[in-house]
Amino acid sequence: MNIVPTLEGGLKIEVEASIDWIALERIASDALPGGAQELPTHLGALMDEESEWNELVVPELEELFNDQLQKVRTRIEAAQQEASSPSGGTLFILREEGGDWYGALNQARMALESRYQFGESEDLGAVKEFPPPKRSAYIRNQFYRALQSVLLEHLID
């Protein structure tokens, strides 16, 4: 997979193998359990009763976070359908879509962190000792983080 900035201020993701599509598809499926479904309540956990946070704000955040995931999923599916082969294709992220992509990736990372508690550890020795599901999740987390950094550098003001 190659990720390059476009002249229009967006990003172009060149998919080179079917595993790349799988990696992109996992964003939404990783995000849903601990992201859109649980994150709004988690974020509001410290708010007092007077604010009526759960009644007034949490539903709005749920809608916002679900919308981010839906947009990303739709964009990936459309790019897959337009691809010339199952192992190739091109996915464009427009400049105005940068916030939605960043948010969706953040939800996925929040959900994975909540489930596996990676912390801020960069110790590769420890990562090698992770059981396979956690190791796989850690690699996806690093991929999402790298994509977020590219979005921050090129798309998000």
């Binding site: 994150l39 709004p40 988690h42 974020l43 509001g44 410290l46 708010m47 007092d48 007077e50 604010s51 704000v57 709005e60 955040l61 916002l64 960043y102 948010g103 953040n106 939800q107 990372r109 929040m110 962190e113 990676f118 912390g119 801020e120 983080r145 977020q148 950094s149 921050l152 998000i156 003001d157």
Partner: protein, 100 residues
């Protein structure tokens, strides 16, 4: 039984007064550290939400990162709640506390 409108409205007014009193004063908006949000992102969110210059936003981000939390704004309850709502929409852990 018919409801006495004077008693009903008086009760509501009293409750509203108590709530207004309990929410009056200065409130702090706090942002907490987490292992997911990127430092550059947090800086940009502080610039966008509060209109802080880059240097101020970076300073607050570093306080969050090093101390685990930072007081990012203080003022009346209503705008403070709106700021927390915006911070949550950017997926930052934030809350309110009454200023001492």
């Amino acid at each position: 039984m018919p409801i006495d409108p004077q008693i009903t409205s008086g009760t509501i007014t009293e409750k509203e007064d108590k709530t207004a009193t309990s929410l009056a004063g200065t409130w702090n908006v706090l942002v907490f550290d987490d292992p997911v949000n990127l430092m550059e992102y947090v800086t940009k969110v502080f610039q966008k939400v509060f209109g802080y210059p880059r240097e101020r936003a970076e300073e607050l981000m570093m306080t969050v990162h090093v101390a685990g939390k930072a007081l990012v704004w203080a003022g009346e309850r209503e705008p403070a709640e709106l700021y927390v709502q915006q911070l949550h929409s950017y997926q930052l852990q934030a809350s309110l506390e009454r200023a001492q």
